[in-house]
Symmetry: C2
Subunit: 540 residues, 2 copies
């Protein structure tokens, strides 16, 4: 039987048209390299998006072409998001923090036709441009006055390029499954892998992530995404905030500057923000030092890495801000789970509350999540059974750009995380699949052992890796960077574990090092650390 | 370029599976004819939905078949919603308040194969069953103990039917555009017209209507839909509440019983409810008389008809409840606009605030709305330009079941409402297209004139219709039912309009009647009233 319902395509164009029509006067505030406080409205923004679309056509870009961006969170980057995707092209956001070889690789692999570059990255791209033969031209995201001297070939100034274009553009009728954006993961193994989002997945992710138990965006929110727009579409906020009619504040290159963030919060009356734990540390440090307050801020989302308890506590106890854990990844658009605490939760004994607070949260509708054991059998959500986390859904990738998909039967994506689900459907990540230590047929969480070591006052940083062991298959080796002048011994730290974990979890031995290895994005590079110890001989 | 994203079908089955997996212990509370307080969980519900699906197969129902329901808001009706739609059949909810001939017509037109009937409607259906030759059997929604004596042919008892069935069912992989449900509009002209919802439109409407600026459903909500599930899927709450993991309370046949509603609110800690103004009058009257309170209730949605100011005020001032206006219709799944007031709004001067409070609100994302003049030209959103309201979107119908679509170019659905949009994108309905009075090339709102007349203390009810006029094309005729023993004259009431509307809006003449005509759902039947005066001769 046929439904009588209309079936308009779910497109980013419809988000743009909706925001333009319903919220024309809502503001977008940006910090850029050339302007410490740029202010305009959705109406202004989408008029300029029309100009940009005309400019892209004039440059020779065609539907289906991939257009690269290397830029901070600001209004011009927002214009690129919409101008490129709504023209039927693919917006490829490039992470400037990647290693040079990775950047060269992905620009070539993605076949970027043009590259839009923040003035702050011009020098970087000048050095790399010869390794990017497929790029036809570069556009610097600035005005004529601020245009830097540059050796970039076929270079344009953004403002000059769009200045004389019409703001009218006949947006193409796109298929909802058409590619809209491309983002490469910065994995520690092999080359970066590209995830190609569709218009449909982007709209559905915007709906799902805006729900009251997730970002909860409303017209009355003033939202500052501190997560870079070169990370998974800035968690999709550049789409979901306009969909809700929220005011947007974008801190440009000042994302780790506690003072700028505080000024923006107070001046623009920011109600909600989102970022990684490092950003919140910078903000809280600044507030502590300056004695300033952040009264308008009601909630922040913390993702990208597990957030330490003191950040949650300081936000809530000192500033009345609800810090909310979220979990996701590039392959998931990114949001998978979100941890909203209820007023009933707040009545729990503190330790129990803290445990729940630190969890990664509940799956949002649109994400089907399960945990499985080594045989692929689904495990119960009982608060103890830990297994590999798999997901599927309308904003989860089925594979990588130009690669064969390598997923399990049933179309589940292997997240690489190990977790248990508690009886309230809150996920607690316990490790990464590749970092778990398999000892005597059981799993030991390297992360839990690392966190415990790091809570010792004499430890600056710690890693725990599994090293081959004749009897137990693997045993944990604790690798420690001591704090300066600390006399910490192996015995001290091993004793510190007693009573905190099962005896058989306690690392077998300790190695002291001056420094640990890190990835381009600052995470522990366990792969390299494992290589250091691949021939390690246990003492016993 | 190809996206790499998964494209699972958006289906009601996925809502069911999500709620079952993530919120198994969330409760569903019902009042039924046979149980004043039935209580179970989502897990229980969806296990019984599995049993029902097996029972449907055993009855001989096949994918694509239309299965009718005539029932109140309770857990068995919820089971039918999911069991029928997730089996690939079409759930046809029938409004028991329609005239008998309309019920016969729609059961035949929809080709219902089976009819599930609340015990309270058995007598009604017994009288009609001979006019429903295509219905193969009837199932009474009750247990064996409460099964009434009945002359219904091929009759089953619901509980007996599903009792011995397995709760395991292999749900079919449905196309998202497949028909899921069918609801007939109870228009005043011609036969009822059927709107066939799809799985896709239902999921998208659930997302859109759950957003923070609309129903704002969260896991912590306890939601009581008082809007009947035979009206546009109970405003979709039977889908959107489980999607959010909210607790559901369903008042069964007690929807106009202020005492039962109050008890449910206080006992189940209801936070949100939705219904038509009449329901709220019943609730507020009861509270006034009993002196009881409703402390857990935070917000109510008012739709289906324009809600008078005192309801909003009493809710907020006396009970701290935000009453929120919404607008939609069967053809829109139903939600089109929603009126959320902000804390800034509450700081406005009272008259200005009240004006905004009474508006129907802003379009939700997924609804593209415009107002047009008689030539079809789009009108500005300036707070004064009034025109016909047209909509389109992913949960708007493109036509009616078994009828040729008759929509305007561009695929816009004519809502039949006349409205202006204010500068904050809030819609104010001023009339129905067919009730507007065209005088001297200008439009006069019959509704505004009616509301003014009704605010006169001596008026019991009033209608204003356009009557043909040689010079002005049409002029307004005011038709009044006086309050008993009132000596109200035509001059009195016409004078009452002075200074309240433009002089040329004031009705030309007044007719006094003992009673006005009403539709089956209690609205003014303007079509009939216009027929009374089709040959009316103006005095002048």
């Amino acid at each position: 039987m046929l439904s009588t319902m209309m079936e308009p395509a779910l497109t980013i164009t419809s988000v743009m048209n909706f925001a333009k029509k319903n919220y024309p006067n809502q503001e977008i505030i940006s910090v850029t390299a050339d302007n410490p406080l740029h202010r305009y409205t959705y109406k202004d923004a989408f008029q300029r998006v029309g100009k940009l679309a005309n400019a892209l056509v004039e440059l020779g870009a065609k539907p289906g072409d991939v257009i690269g961006t290397m830029a901070w969170n600001d209004y011009r980057h927002l214009e690129l998001y919409y101008g490129i995707s709504c023209s039927g092209m693919v917006c490829h956001t490039i992470n400037p923090r990647l290693f040079d070889e990775q950047i060269e690789y992905i620009v070539e692999h993605a076949e970027d036709k043009f590259l839009f570059v923040d003035p702050l990255f011009v020098t970087k791209i000048e050095a790399l441009q010869d390794k990017m033969p497929n790029v036809l031209g570069f556009i610097v995201l600035t005005s004529e006055d601020n245009m830097p001297e540059t050796t970039l070939r076929n270079v344009h100034c953004y403002e000059t390029l769009i200045a004389d274009k019409s703001d009218e553009f006949v947006w193409p009728e796109l298929q909802e499954s058409a590619a809209s954006a491309l983002c490469y993961t910065s994995g520690t193994t092999g080359n970066p892998k590209g995830v190609v989002y569709s218009h449909r997945s982007t709209v559905l992710h915007s709906y799902a992530s805006s729900m009251p138990d997730a970002f909860a965006f409303s017209r009355n929110d003033v939202v500052m995404p501190i997560v870079p727009m070169f990370h998974v579409n800035g968690w999709g906020i550049v789409y979901s905030a306009p969909m809700a009619g929220a005011k947007l504040v974008m801190p440009g290159p000042k994302m780790a500057d506690g003072k700028v963030l505080t000024t923006l919060i107070n001046q623009e009356k920011i109600t909600m923000s989102a970022g990684v734990p490092t950003v919140w540390l910078a903000l809280l440090d600044y507030l502590e030092q300056s004695g300033e307050s952040i009264d308008s801020l009601k909630r922040v989302t913390v993702g990208g890495a597990a957030c330490p308890l003191p950040i949650f506590k300081t936000f809530y106890d000192k500033y009345g801000v609800e810090a909310e854990h979220a979990w996701g990844m590039t392959e998931m658009s990114p949001l998978g789970t979100y941890n909203k605490m209820s007023s009933q939760d707040r009545e729990l004994p503190e330790e129990e509350f803290n445990q729940k607070l630190l969890r990664q949260g509940r799956p949002i509708y649109g994400v089907d999540l399960r945990i499985v054991n080594e045989n692929g059998d689904e495990l119960p959500w009982d608060g103890t059974s830990s297994g590999a986390v798999q997901v599927r859904g309308a904003f989860v990738t089925a594979g990588y750009h130009k690669q064969q998909a390598d997923f399990t039967p049933g179309g589940w994506f292997e997240t690489g995380d190990v977790a248990f689900m508690d009886e309230e459907s809150r996920m607690q990540i316990t490790d990464r699949t590749k970092d778990i230590i398999k000892s005597g047929g059981e799993w030991i969480s390297s992360i839990e052992l690392e966190n415990l070591a790091m809570s010792h006052p004499a430890v600056a940083e710690a890693a725990v890796i599994g090293v081959a062991h004749e009897k137990w298959t693997e045993r944990p080796l604790l690798v420690v960077v001591r704090k300066p002048d600390s006399g910490l011994t192996a015995q001290d730290i091993l004793k510190f574990y007693q009573g905190k974990v099962a005896t058989w979890w306690i690392p077998t031995e300790v190695a002291f090092v001056v420094e640990l290895a890190h990835t381009a994005t600052g995470k522990l590079d366990k792969k390299t650390i494992r290589q250091w110890y691949q021939d390690y001989q246990w003492q016993d």
